[in-house]
Subunit: 246 residues, 3 copies
């Protein structure tokens, strides 16, 4: 049971950082398609699904599928010392130790026992009526504006208009977007859901790094936000709604 | 009773920030000349007088003079999300709500009841014997140097020399300026006053942004510091002296 | 007893900052060769030897050797207000006051009574078998990587290879360097010593600023790290080893 791969440091760094906004330990499945991981936060409110395809690696050798237990904080410690464009060599013989070579630094890291890490969640199969693509940085800025007003944000869609808004005790903000302000938008049913900014603010830090993020939305349904960090490195968040009090 | 104006975000941001170094809530008078506000800090030691002339606006429509109650911290929350060069549209119908549109964000902000905000101070009419103009950043740097030495700063003028100085228990610093180090200086009577750095340090953060600040000074009299943040946006601070112990 | 000197602010700033990583008050000897200071940290684990030769000054006038008592934190307060390239004039008449003129600011600083400052240490005369030169920033990066793994770092040399490494409870890192990764290396005896990162991390912040640092190493012996901050401004650290537990 041996895995050996070579990949740009920045790809792993941004991918793991996006997941670490929800959880600190993950089960990382390694198979002939690449890396794949599904995590749910401790409060069961949000999920992060990560896929790093084999093609995102410069070299990828595997003799047998395996599941690795990763401490994301420790990985970030290591990845933050290297530059994004540095090649990183990673290798494990038995799934208990990870050998990492980057920028002339040789690390040997103990992997976690995957059985001690939270079970992978069942990702619900949702058919959501709103499907749009927005610039990540525009999304991030709108979320930052709502943070000043409330602890909750409303994502809503009406015809060809997507609106991010928040209502505070005395103040409110609304950021409507349509036409060229969005990359594309399909809305088969007007929709509106409320979400906790505690989660969405953190997520938006990763979303803000990409030029295009795909948002799928319903009414009082979870929102799905999917984005490509690099070619072959895809992250999807799923966030449960809060029910609006009347 | 309706006001509607359009102005660059940076003008309001820098103007309100300068006032917020002393107070957090202001009465903003809106009349046919523009915006005007006078505030005194809670300890009655310092005043800030702000004028934003109608000409500083790109559009300015008013049917009746009014006084608005503004929470400056909330305004800063909103203004900080936009870029300085973004146009900001502001509108109020009745003085209870302010509608702000900037960078595609629509805000609705509750205004404060002006009667709950501290009375506007009587600004003393002072005839001060020293009148000079100094580069704002030079002033800011000198104040920063005195902060390391004492909690008080001495502003003094003798003939054609203006001196910013501080005396600590064992150390002292003196920054004399004359000739080309000042933009201009008139001194009809040698003067010297002591001021609390707690106030002057904060004020100097705004003063440091302008190329020219006008300082008027006497002996054991308040200092007046007046500067133009933008064409038509003028701020004047007045700071009471501390009496030097012998 | 008068000293008068003129020197670039940056030279004094970087020199004193390097020493202040170990101690906050120093005896500064001033003689016809320039400035010289030897300090040991309160726990007697590390020493800093500083030499600023007369040639590093633009002007240097002295009628009699003297020892000045300097508060490095206060010096840093003053030096941080000026720019690195500003000329600084320093003068003392009697060793009790230091007059500093920089960027138009006149400081008068009380000097400490040198007899109240810790005795200068005896610097041991060590004949260490490893003598190498490394890029300062490469050294700093390697030390930063070890900080994530342990509180201790191992410096070792074997033949033509110098290795910086750390062993944590479950993880380890090793940064081997040889050939062109080092400026030069002589190793008359394979060596290995363990050091506290509490000290070496701080030191590496100053070492990271230079292109070449000279490291001399033995087995369970102090390490000596010597580097030139500017022409004529030389700093040497000496750090006692920790004995490795089996």
């Amino acid at each position: 049971m041996t895995f050996r791969g070579k990949i740009k440091t920045g790809k792993l760094k941004d991918a793991f950082e996006s997941v670490s906004r929800l959880v600190h330990e993950i089960k990382l499945n390694v198979d002939e398609n690449g890396f794949q991981s599904k995590s749910v936060d401790p409060a069961n409110v949000a999920m992060a699904m990560l896929e790093i395809s084999k093609d995102a690696f410069e070299e990828f050798e595997l003799d047998e599928s395996m599941t690795l237990g990763l401490d994301l904080d420790r990985m970030d410690d290591i990845l933050s010392v290297a530059s994004k464009d540095d090649d990183m060599l990673i290798r494990t013989e038995d799934g208990s130790k990870l050998e990492i070579n980057v920028s002339g630094f040789d690390y040997s890291i103990s992997l976690l026992d995957p059985s001690t890490i939270q079970q992978e969640p069942q990702v619900p199969d949702l058919d959501l009526p709103v499907d749009l693509v927005i610039n990540g940085s525009k999304f991030r800025n709108a979320i930052r504006a709502t943070e000043k007003i409330s602890d909750y944000v409303i994502l809503s869609a009406e015809d060809d208009r997507f609106t991010i808004s928040a209502e505070g005790d005395s103040d409110s903000v609304s950021i409507p977007m349509s036409g060229e302000e969005l990359v594309r938008m399909e809305c088969s049913e007007n929709s509106r859901s409320l979400f906790s900014l505690e989660y969405l603010s953190d997520m938006s830090k990763s979303i803000g790094k990409v030029s295009e993020a795909n948002i799928r939305l319903g009414t009082d349904y979870p929102v799905k936000i999917k984005f490509k960090l690099y070619e072959g490195v895809v992250l999807e968040y799923l966030l449960a709604p809060r029910i609006e009090s009347e």
